[in-house]
């Protein structure tokens, strides 16, 4: 079992002929992901890697394949429209990898996607992987291995770091999800926690957060009220100076809401394990699997 994707997931790649899209489409295919179609306006009728049909629009791709998922690698200025197009065509799970999508674009996209009943992951996220079954996005497949740990994170390489430490220690994963660090994104930490709570194969959840915002405090509140499964948390940016943006727009400390200390306290209050550093996940997870 897993969350959001498994070996029955069928995927459309939006931007399949672009530099990033083609590279990662190949990687996903090698991993075993069922890529059923690609979309690049103007390149309809071509075949990607002699296998995958390319369409001009998502609507056409959907008509031909009825895929349940799409993954977006189009440039930032066009990414919002690509998300709207996928939602309008009836795609139920949209994973937007693109980094640098203007935040005001997302204020228009979010309500539209919601009204269409679709789930959006990202933008500016590494996507997700259910080890041994399917990966949608850019998480390196070989650092993951199947097992009982659910992973959810706001960042990319930090997710890799933790997953790598878990895999090295023999602790496999059900699904690893990177929700992305943008101020406005689709799926949030709580959505993932709720899905992991329902997934019978997931026994422990690891959650990596960052300074800025109140997502982690709300997630901790959710853990306290709604979760029976143990959760281990980590906050990156404990030493970041207040008021400075550290790459992700998410990492802004405004006033007192969003400091690492505040978030870690919220984790403790919710009875969660707290990792001081990525390596600590290994022992904390192991103890909770017993």
């Amino acid at each position: 079992m897993s969350i959001f994707i498994d070996n029955s997931t069928t995927v459309i790649v939006q931007g399949i002929t672009g530099r990033d899209g083609s590279f990662h489409a190949k990687q996903m295919m090698e991993y075993g992901t069922k890529i059923v179609a690609g979309v690049t306006p103007g390149k309809g009728g071509q075949k990607f890697e002699d296998k995958v049909p390319v369409f001009n629009t998502v609507a056409e791709a959907m008509k031909a394949t009825n895929a349940n998922t799409s993954v977006i690698y189009v440039p930032p200025m066009y990414a919002a429209d690509a998300i709207l197009e996928a939602a309008d065509a009836g795609v139920k799970f949209i994973v937007a990898i693109t980094e640098g999508v203007p935040v005001l674009d997302m204020t228009r996209v979010y309500p539209f996607v919601k009204e269409k009943g679709a789930r959006l992951l990202g933008p500016n996220c590494p996507g997700l992987i259910t080890p041994g079954q399917s990966k949608v996005g850019i998480i390196p497949g070989r650092i993951c291995t199947p097992g009982p740990v659910g992973v959810v994170s706001r960042s990319g390489t930090l997710t890799y770091e933790v997953v790598y430490q878990l895999t090295r220690a023999g602790l496999g994963q059900t699904t690893c999800v990177g929700i992305g660090g943008d101020p406005i994104n689709g799926t949030n930490v709580i959505d993932c926690l709720a899905a992991f709570e329902k997934d019978p194969a997931t026994k422990v959840v690891c959650m990596m957060g960052e300074i800025g915002g109140t997502d982690e405090q709300e997630a901790a509140e959710f853990v306290k009220k709604n979760m029976k499964k143990p959760v281990v948390g980590f906050i990156a940016g404990q030493t970041a100076p207040p008021g400075r943006r550290m790459g992700h727009a998410g990492a802004i400390i405004s006033g007192s809401a969003g400091t690492a200390a505040e978030k870690i306290q919220a984790f403790k209050d919710a009875g969660m394990g707290v990792a001081q550093r990525p390596l600590d996940f290994v022992e904390l997870v192991r103890a909770r699997l017993k």
Binding site: P76, P140, T157, L158
Partner: protein, 382 residues
């Protein structure tokens, strides 16, 4: 991207918001001339990308042109939060009957642009939020419809009982929203919005932060960037497509990804060290990026050891290794370097490093510990 008050005022004025005139001076003599032209009392305001200008002595009244000259001289010598003041805005002092606050910010939680308005203006809005939260009205805007007239009026009447003033404020809010959207801003603020004794509603200050991701769409806004008003190391990093923030410690960090970069800084502290910077070389790195990163880091005399922490996903670790080799050939390092590489093309990267006399580890904790040790003891090169 931050823009200056005088630039934000030009954008707001173009949107129709009533703002008293003002001109920019870079020397005390220019400030004097501008004050003479306006006549009467003027305000001299530091143009610098830092909050708390007033408290830092960067905003002063001057009753005469001579006084404007003296005040400008003092302000132009100031550093506010380490940033030098290079320009002042000289503007006629307005008579003020009351001060209000109007701001728009993109709110993560509501996933919308949200208006914040308060009749308690002229002071720090965070302070109002903490002490008298009932004095703030929050109003989320549905981006698909924009700010509607009745919504603007609701906020206008929250600020003012007088219908004429409320309507004037409502119209200013609609104009502010237009300027906000048109500029691709993530924040737009008028603090204070004042009512004069004659009953006019005016914006006396203006602040705008533009979403960096919008700059490709708005070349006219991108042009407003004032690189002389930013820390030189941060300008250099941005031009090299790196995200860099200078800190006070002595372990220089080069990392890929913001989350891992922050976690690396935290780990430096965990092992008893202090990070000298935040530096994210981003996703698809090429050797050139690494060369630039090393240039920026080694320019900081506080740095006693350099730590690379690279988890290759999109980033190819052999690119990073090549970058390290090239950079250190161009400019031999004067401080020890500790390299941690793992992920995409790790074997090739390790070989490149070994062939060039570097050692590298694949373990993050081990590398950080070693870097901290070298930085504190001033140890020899690895």
């Amino acid at each position: 991207m931050n823009i200056h008050e005088y630039q934000a005022k030009e954008i707001f004025r173009a949107a129709g918001i009533p703002i008293p005139p003002g001109e920019v001076a870079t020397t005390p003599a220019e400030a004097e001339a501008i004050a003479k032209k306006f006549g009467g009392t003027v305000v001299v305001k530091a143009q610098v990308h830092a909050g708390g200008r007033g408290k830092a002595g960067g905003v002063k009244l001057a009753k005469t042109p001579q006084e404007a000259r003296e005040v400008a001289d003092k302000i132009l010598k100031l550093h506010i939060k380490d940033l030098p003041v290079q320009k002042v805005l000289v503007t006629p002092a307005a008579d003020i009957a009351s001060e209000a606050y109007v701001g728009i910010i993109v709110d993560r939680a509501r996933k919308k642009a949200v208006f914040m308005v308060s009749p308690a203006g002229g002071i720090d809005i965070e302070e109002v939020a903490a002490k008298t939260p009932e004095k703030i009205m929050y109003h989320p805007v549905d981006a698909r419809y924009g700010l509607m007239d009745f919504e603007a009026q609701q906020m206008g009447f929250f600020l003012y009982k007088d219908a004429k003033q409320a309507r004037a404020a409502a119209s200013i809010m609609k104009q502010l929203y237009q300027a906000f959207v048109k500029s691709g801003a993530s924040l737009a603020e008028i603090n204070p919005l004042v009512v004069t004794p004659k009953g006019e509603v005016l914006a006396l200050d203006a602040k705008m932060v533009v979403d960096d991701n919008e700059l490709d769409r708005h070349p006219e806004i991108a042009k407003l960037r004032d690189e002389s008003a930013e820390a030189p190391s941060e300008v250099q990093a941005r031009n090299a497509n790196l995200t860099f923030i200078k800190l006070d410690g002595n372990v220089g960090c080069v990392v890929n990804g913001a989350g891992l970069a922050m976690a690396t800084m935290d780990l430096v502290k965990y092992y008893g060290g202090e990070p000298a910077n935040f530096l994210d070389i981003g996703g698809s790195s090429n050797p050139e990026k690494v060369v630039n990163a090393l240039k920026i880091i080694t320019a900081d005399p506080n740095v006693k050891a350099i730590l690379f922490n690279i988890f290759g996903g999109i980033t190819r670790t052999d690119d990073v290794a090549n970058g390290i080799v090239t950079a250190t050939k161009q400019n031999p390092l004067k401080v020890p370097i500790v390299i941690r590489l793992t992920g995409t093309n790790e074997e090739i990267a390790m070989k490149i490093l070994q062939d060039n006399g570097f050692s590298a580890s694949s373990d993050m904790d081990e590398a950080v510990k070693k870097a901290v040790e070298l930085a504190t003891k001033g140890g020899k090169a690895a």
